[in-house]
């Protein structure tokens, strides 16, 4: 088509499309949220919360000291009988109100989540914030029908719940913890993660706006020391922790013999299993979503990719091509697919494990994309020629790094998928229904996705096997861990 070729070529690239932070109502400094008010810490400190994409402080936040922890628990304890005495219908009304306020402030919360944590606005806008609201809606609905979700048995709240959430989904994890606890009549002391406290503090403001009775929710930002003090403090009836397996084991040891109820949602090294009869292009999308969603900072990330040998070259070729199209950069740009690594510490950990993978002889390929000068970044990376004994096949990297192994038969796929100390999630890609059911029931994983990955819904139970923890969050199963049955 020669006449066409002689025309001027029109070049087309996406212009920057940053979501404006102008509408965000962040304060310069946040206190601790105790008994319905923001207050200065008694023996805590004040630290800036840093944006991982700019290394600039977003706001200053108070970290709670041991006395603050005791004060917060006392407030929760004082409020608990009154909260539990409300009818389920009344508690549900408060939770519905919180859910609606999250929706009303959705845009603001999404921007704050991306500024504070580095995740792309596309994800905070389309996943984190709507799902957080959905969890409150879901458990608001359960509040007045608890016995229907608990096999007809009568349920009493446990009391005061200490809840510690991680930095990868700060608001969503807070919602996962608070919504079922409150629905069942418990009060809560929530500790957001050290690097991402801001969205939980906005949630505290929402609790004020919703006129939640004082003391029902406390929010205590802090570091590991605050968390350790919280789980060891007197006056708590329940600990719910989401985070690393090492800290989870420490908490379990500390609580042994105390009678305090415990649920843990810990690490993972989840297998994403692609069979030769899968819809390969969609499997590639699922692989990308499984490992590059939220920069791979996902406990259930599909970080161990198992591909049937007959299609391994095709799938790896397609995957590598697709990885080259990922847009890495400014989390606030609406076209960004992969944002910033949450902290310098996490970046170091990713770099160390990637170096170990290279030393052990796996073949590393990293996308050659331009990375911003400031902030913490890691370009999407794939390891092939990985052996099951390599550290990158065993340890959780918690970054945008996928380790690929191959298998020959269905039995081998199951054996390799289960060959992990973890057991949080798994993915199966096949067009054959019978195979999907067979494999799913043989996998030791709390969640198994078929022909999709990283799909979350408030009605579905989420939780792990083995060192990925115990207890379930989401759906009626999530109620069970916040009640005493009679």
């Amino acid at each position: 088509m020669s006449t066409q070729e002689t025309r001027t070529r029109i070049v087309w690239d996406y212009a920057p499309a940053p979501e404006s932070p102008d509408h965000v109502r962040l304060r310069d400094s946040y206190g601790l949220f105790v008994n319905g008010e923001f207050a200065d810490p008694k023996d805590g400190t004040r630290v800036p919360s840093i944006s991982p994409s700019t290394e600039e402080p977003v706001a200053e936040v108070a970290f709670a000291g041991p006395e603050d922890v005791r004060g917060a628990i006392a407030a929760a304890r004082a409020a608990q009988p009154g909260w539990a005495a409300l009818s389920g219908l009344e508690r549900g009304k408060y939770l519905f109100r919180v859910a609606r306020l999250i929706q009303e402030r959705a845009r603001e919360m999404a921007v704050v989540e991306s500024m504070d944590g580095g995740k792309p606005i596309r994800e905070s806008r389309d996943v984190d914030v709507p799902l957080a609201a959905a969890h409150f809606f879901h458990y608001a609905g359960w509040a007045d029908k608890l016995s229907y979700g608990l096999a007809g048995r009568e349920a009493a709240p446990l009391g005061v719940a200490a809840q510690i959430v991680p930095w990868n989904f700060p608001l969503l994890m807070a919602a996962w913890k608070l919504a079922p606890a409150l629905a069942c009549g418990n009060t809560a002391v929530l500790k957001p993660a050290e690097t991402t406290p801001l969205s939980a503090l906005l949630l505290a403001e929402i609790c004020q706006e919703a006129e939640l009775p004082p003391g029902v929710v406390q929010v205590l930002p802090g570091d590991g020391a605050t968390g350790a003090a919280l789980v060891r403090a007197d006056g708590i009836d329940k600990v719910a922790f989401t985070g690393s397996t090492a800290v989870g084991k420490d908490i379990q040891a500390a609580l042994a013999g105390t009678g305090t109820s415990l649920t843990l949602e810990l690490g993972g090294k989840s297998a994403n299993v692609v069979f030769e009869d899968a819809a390969l292009d969609q499997a590639v999308e699922g692989i990308v979503n499984g490992i590059f969603f939220n920069q791979g900072h996902v406990c259930c990330a599909g970080s161990r990719l198992l591909i049937q040998e007959s299609v391994a070259d095709v799938v790896i070729g397609k995957l590598w091509e697709r990885m080259g199209r990922l847009r890495v950069g400014d989390p606030l740009d609406k076209n960004t697919d992969v944002g910033a690594i949450n902290s310098a510490e996490q970046l170091e950990r990713i770099e160390a494990l990637v170096a170990a993978g290279e030393e052990e002889g796996a073949l590393r390929r990293t996308v050659a994309c331009e990375l911003p000068e400031r902030g913490w970044w890691f370009a999407p990376t794939i390891f092939t020629e990985v052996a099951p004994a390599h550290r990158i096949a065993v340890e959780e990297i918690f970054g945008p790094v996928v380790s690929v192994m191959t298998f020959r038969t269905q039995a081998e796929a199951i054996e390799k998928a289960n060959n992990s100390t973890y057991g949080l999630a798994a993915g199966i890609w096949t067009d054959k229904g019978s195979k999907a059911f067979e494999v799913a029931s043989a996998l030791e994983a709390g969640v198994v996705w078929q022909n999709t990955y990283n799909k979350f819904d408030p009605t579905a139970a989420f939780g792990g096997y083995k060192e990925s923890g115990f207890g379930r969050e989401g759906g009626p199963a999530g109620l069970r861990h916040y009640v005493r049955l009679s």
Binding site: R7, G317, N335, D431
Partner: protein
Amino acid sequence: MLRRLPHVDRVGIEERAATLGKRSIKTTAKQQGIRLAVSMTDLTTLEGADTPGKVRHLCAKAVCPAPTIPEIPSCAAVCVYPSLIGVVRDALEGTGVRAASVSTAFPSGQASVELKLRDTEEAVAAGAEEIDMVISREAFLAGDDTRVMEEIVRVKEACGDAHLKVIIETAELGSYDHVRHASMLAMESGADFIKTSTGKAASGATPGVTLVMLEAIRDYAERSGRAVGMKAAGGVSSSKAALHRLVLVKETLGDEWLTPDRFRIGASSLLNDLLMQYQKTQTGRYARPEDFSKE
């Protein structure tokens, strides 16, 4: 053909296509995208009521879509029924806009091969530089891949130097697997372009089928080394829809396919919406429909 074609997962493909519909195309990207879309448009009229007069108006529009906005390029082609291709050829002579004709008993394709070949030969003889043929869905749905391919091969021969676009009419194929399969048959048989729809069926170039066909083109190019073009036709009537299709192309096949040589949009009402949206990027105000000519 013993080669196994990978399946297409309906949920997965539609999810991916919808995700790409959320790309934020603003400011300069919007202007450039609209200009690109205009340059890729096959301005089309396929009505029983088409007359030489109407077709000449359309040709003038294709050559110079917006006299008041000089940076708007010409369209790629004007597409009509074979009986009017001579009018198109005369009107477009020397403009760089190409004369395209539908053929092979468009839109149903329910005719003998001989008639289809004759249809094509006459259109080419009358000046068609591009031929938009339809596959025989009757043969495809009956499982007769060989007949589908033979027809395409023979029409391709009849085209001579004219470029061949093969319409698979996705709405009548029943599944994404079939869309992919038909795309492969067309490319294996020598199609220069594969095209979604006639515009006469219940649905057209939905994001899902467009993406499936783009992926088929990518896999075929990888295997054979031959770059086949794609034409999205039917249902792409707004700027937003057109830009969504361009995003699908960009993020599936890359920038090499973002040219009228490799991607086309078959449309009639789309063009004025593109012009109105372009004017809005300049003035900040929504344009009036009467700001641009109607043919």
